[in-house]
Amino acid sequence: MDLGNIIELSLQQALGPTAVIYALAAIGLNVHFGYTGLLNFGQAGFMMVAGYSLASLATVWGQSLWLGAFIGIVLTIVLALLLGVPTLRLRADYLAIVTIAAAEVIRQSVSAAAFSDTFGGQDGLTDFIAPFRALNPFSEPINLGVVRWSAYDFWVMTVGWLLVAICCVVVWLLMRSPWGRVLKSIREDEDAVRSLGKNVYAYKMQSLVIGGLFGALAGFMTALRSASIGPSFFATDVTFFAYTVLLIGGAARVLGPVVGSIIFWFLITALGIFFSQATRGADPLIPAWIMTSQQASLMRFIFLGLGLMLLMIYRPQGIFGDRRELAIDAR
């Protein structure tokens, strides 16, 4: 058991590009779920639309990444409108079912062999980040004593955490504005807001679009981080992990998703490495008849599922949240 190794690798993940992506996705969910009470279970769909726009415009049509990002943002808005129109007048669970279904529709479509010329099928797309790589000011691997990152990872992190910071400021400004107060009151009591003459439907739609845009940023970062994009990056579980991130940090708190993402990835990585080390070698800590190394890789997800349940039951406000602010009711 190498405790130093566990801490080092976990820190690397907790501050690394993956944590950035989940922080951005969770910031979007925070606008949806934390502030407005909308249950969007298809955040992976928003990420996918944006990420694939970026990648396929660059690879298939040879366009610049900027244009790809622009198209990605436009398509994300279109997707949010498409999902919102049928469901936002209905009970919350309808939005949940439709968004999760839409994310899966998009995922199965982009991975289809019929569209493999545009989206690369199951293999996805690669070779589109050269312009982004060229901007990288770091040439050496970055070593911060305990943790190390490759030069490119550190560049992605720099851009990513900068984006996260900007998003947090935007969310903070939005939520202290009168507009944000309307969102929060929709979450608390939709009928009361309606009786005050506010167009609840329009506010919910705006919230869905804005939260989706944060998801789009997460999608861009996914594409840039791994220098490739594939349907398996956007499985349904991605959205559920982002929810866990949000609930750890605390919904309806500006910094909740950021702290949540760091803690989530620290714990997940630490658990993963711990069980992998505990089952490795000739005389493993956990004997093979209890757990093989194959099974060890599942332990973190078992803990994740349990953690999500317990968190929602015993501390739905997360670490920073305020329980009074999160009286999620049955709507």
Binding site: G37, L39, V85, P86, T87, R89, L90, R91, A92, D93, Y94, A96, I97, V98, I100, A101, A102, E104, V105, Q108, S109, A112, A113, A114, D123, T236, D237, F240, Y243, T244, L247, T292, Q294, Q295, L298, M299, F301, I302, L304, G305, L306, G307, L308, M309, L310, L311, M312, I313, P316, I328, D329, A330, R331
Partner: protein, 457 residues
């Protein structure tokens, strides 16, 4: 579920890549077609070296026991279509292709094994020409290519549609059982249970575990192990449903946890259970020891296997029994009353908690039975229920969330639609179509086909 009927039967006929867990010979010999695969057509023994080999056999399924087919050429390609090896089947029908590189390099890759149709004997037709082989373990991997008759023509669109309808009906019946459970639980508790798919997988797993127990159960000389296994799955799933409610959902209702919070709890439960299933059951897809390769009946242009008929009959009986229970018995009346208004039914003396507990038992039993039967018709893996979940939702929402008949009608529409849509679009889009139907229906008729037009927003 994934493939039209003719291919479903083929898939069953295949001994689906039974991976040798850890390379132990004891595991490797857990046969899936004990009564059919004779010694002459056995798989080659996996070797315990550093490289991964793809082992396979080519058997003539028309013979009893299956006869090996000699001299068939097989090529192996990697995902991008580059040939990595080829082999010719030996006198015992087996072939071995060693993959280049070490085991570690090949992990996670997928290879395509193709049979050269030209090299097959006259008047035979392979039921599959190519199989995709994912390498997930660092041990040798096995594939089987059954060879059979070309079968009746049936290439006309009408015949094809008819064949797909049969497949769609089988799938619809199973979907309806799962959907009915979800809808009943939603109706009485308001919970949209994202872990419902895991109840389906649970049934398939229990039936499989029972099947794996040593020994056979025979009635009058007839081996009925799998049939008993399905019944056991039904009963154990019912108990599991009770446990779900008693250990998790009832305490949450007592605490006054909101419906949305419970929905997120159910997602946590789904992730937890799915990984626990994989922990104990492995990631490979499984088949039961019986009925994985049955000869279909030829009815005109149709190919129907006896087991599909059995599944439909059992399914219809169960559905009719459940709906009659809900429609005509006191308990059913109480259930519908609770679904309508829990507070009011409690005031009239109905024990609401008891009704909800029974609904959980019934709903989980139905889901488990659907899972076990699904495992029988097409095999299963640890996420079969999770893959089914969205279609269950589509069926339930289409028919009207919380309505009993709606779930059944919705399931039949979705089940038939997914199969029949393959006439017009590639099979890879069939679920996409079903989910799009769901979104369109919500636009036009949010309460679902049979839902009451009440305020749901």
């Amino acid at each position: 579920m994934h493939v039209p009927l003719r291919r479903v039967t083929v898939l069953i006929a295949l001994v689906l890549a039974f991976l040798t867990v850890g390379g132990t010979p004891a595991q490797a010999s857990t046969p899936t077609t004990t009564d059919e695969a004779g010694a002459q057509c056995a798989l080659p023994e996996p070797t315990d070296d550093d490289t991964i080999s793809i082992l396979g056999r080519i058997c003539d399924r028309r013979e009893q026991p299956q006869a090996p087919v000699e001299g068939v050429q097989v090529t192996v390609e990697d995902e991008s279509g580059n040939p990595v090896g080829e082999a010719t089947s030996a006198a015992d029908g087996t072939f071995v292709v060693d993959l280049p590189g070490t085991a570690v390099e090949n992990l996670g890759k997928t290879f395509v094994v193709t049979v050269d149709e030209e090299s097959l004997p006259e008047d035979t037709k392979p039921e599959v020409l190519e199989r995709k082989v994912p390498i997930n373990l660092d041990s040798d991997t096995s594939v089987t290519f059954p060879i059979g008759d070309a079968g009746p023509g049936g290439t006309g669109t009408a015949a094809q549609a008819l064949q797909l309808t049969v497949g769609g009906l089988v799938f619809s019946v199973l979907l309806a059982m799962a959907a009915l459970g979800l809808s009943m639980i939603f109706g009485t508790t308001g919970l949209t249970n994202f872990a419902h798919g895991e109840l389906v997988t649970f049934g398939a797993l229990v039936a499989f575990a029972f099947d794996q127990l040593p020994g056979k159960i025979s009635i009058g000389g007839l081996n009925v192990t799998v049939i008993v296994g399905v019944v056991v799955a039904f009963v154990v799933s019912a108990a599991f449903g009770w446990l779900n409610d008693a250990a998790l959902w009832r305490p949450l209702r007592r605490r006054g946890t909101g419906v949305i919070a419970m929905m997120i709890v159910s997602i946590g439960l789904s992730i937890f259970l799915r990984n626990v299933y994989q922990y104990f059951g492995g990631a490979q897809s499984r088949n039961y020891s019986q009925y994985s390769a049955v000869q279909p009946w030829e009815i005109g242009p149709l190919l129907v296997t006896p087991k599909e008929v059995a599944v439909v009959i059992v399914g219809v009986i169960v559905l009719v029994a459940t709906t009659s229970l809900l429609q005509y018995t006191r308990l059913g009346k109480a259930t519908r009353a609770v679904a309508d208004n829990p507070a009011l039914s409690s005031a009239t003396g109905i024990n609401v908690e008891r009704v909800i507990s029974l609904v959980w038992i019934g709903g989980a039993a139905l889901a488990g039975l659907a899972g076990a039967l699904l495992g029988m018709t097409q095999g299963f893996d640890y996420q079969i229920g999770f893959k089914l979940l969205l279609l269950i939702f589509a069926a339930v929402v289409l028919g009207g969330l919380g309505t009993i008949w709606g779930a059944i009608v919705g399931a039949f529409i979705i089940g038939l639609f997914t199969e029949l849509s393959t006439l017009l679009v590639p099979a890879e889009f069939k679920f996409v179509g079903a989910l799009l139907v769901l979104i369109v229906v919500l636009l036009i008729r949010p309460q679902g086909l049979l839902g009451k037009a009440q305020r749901i927003g």
